[in-house]
Symmetry: C2
Subunit: 207 residues, 2 copies
């Protein structure tokens, strides 16, 4: 039975995080996917009015008409509905996983913002100091994730692992020049260990 | 006993959200405040290396050396440590409050990004279509919050109410031209009802 509607786009790393989580939780059959493209300067008046005032994806409409407007919130909702284990319920491990998730999401936000700066913004309006700063933060975040890779599950992905793989694949897709693999053996192993799972393989960006 | 260190800056709406939450929870005496200023293009190499690779504030160092790197995560940690009620534990109200929180945080992100675009980025690098789009989303988010104001607590603030007031005060501080009060009586009442609480009054931006 499909009672949830997920607004998504193939290249979106945040929408992919939700789809991977839903597949891992075994609840994808509850979800109807609706393609929705957003970008700075793109109007999307109907989407803003009827679905998400922030004009972001993903968004997920529940059966009662309430629409959840944040990827982390949607994943938390799906996890609690399924009595899942994507987020540890207590102990130090809870804060470690949620903290790694926050950095992986922060990395993804930086990568999306840099995509807008270097591919969507008119060339004469780009600000090199800003891009340099973003790139430096992306490298910092990758180094931090490498140093904290052991804090999260490696057998079955938790929400932090899902967010990391979605971030890394997005870097391969939009910013291959970042070269995230170099000197980051733990991230390479984590990524390789999860790549063949149906959840990731069936949702790859550009796939 | 002070066992937590919060990196913050007076004007930061996300750092303020944490300080308001800590005061409401009665745990401010556990926290040592450390001023830290960040901005696009500002180097902050030591802060990036030792504290937050994303160079964002707030960040909160715990006694065991772990540093939480996201304002929502820090608030959740403080709330759970204090057995607080800033976030409802279950029921539809849980998703309503977390969803309002997501939109208030999204509004704040838009307002901070617009501040960077219109005050930090060199004038000849500013892109009007981008600012127009941000401003439209800010208005959309305000209208959405007005329509959903009844979903959250009005007697004692929950985390969504805290985030809304921090967002609205930041608009007054940095973007008064947005005119958030106009036609939004419920937000005006919510804001006025909380303004005199010590948590908000003692943390006002520019105060």
């Amino acid at each position: 039975m499909s009672d949830l509607t997920l607004y998504h786009a193939g290249p979106s790393p945040f929408a992919r995080k939700v789809r991977v989580a839903a597949i891992e939780l075994g609840t994808m059959q509850r979800i109807t996917l609706v393609e929705q493209h957003v970008a700075p300067g793109k109007e999307n008046a109907a989407y803003a009015r009827d679905t998400n005032p922030l004009k972001r994806i993903p968004a997920m409409r529940l059966e009662d008409g309430c629409t959840l407007l944040d990827s982390g919130l949607i994943c938390t909702y799906l996890n609690e509905q399924a009595n899942g284990t994507l987020v540890p319920a207590g102990g130090d491990i809870r804060w470690q996983v949620l903290n790694v998730l926050a950095v992986a999401d922060g990395l993804t936000e930086l990568a999306v913002a840099m995509r807008y700066e270097t591919a969507v913004r008119p060339e004469d309006k780009r600000w090199d100091a800003w891009s340099d700063d973003q790139r430096e933060k992306i490298v910092n975040a990758l180094d931090w994730l490498e140093a904290h890779a052991d804090d999260i599950a490696h057998d079955v992905p938790d929400l932090a692992g899902i967010a990391i793989v979605c971030a890394l694949d997005y870097l391969d897709f939009r910013h291959p020049a970042v070269g995230w693999r170099e000197g980051r053996d733990k991230l390479v192993a984590l990524h390789a260990g999860f790549a063949d799972r149906e959840s990731f393989a069936s949702t790859a960006p550009g796939g």
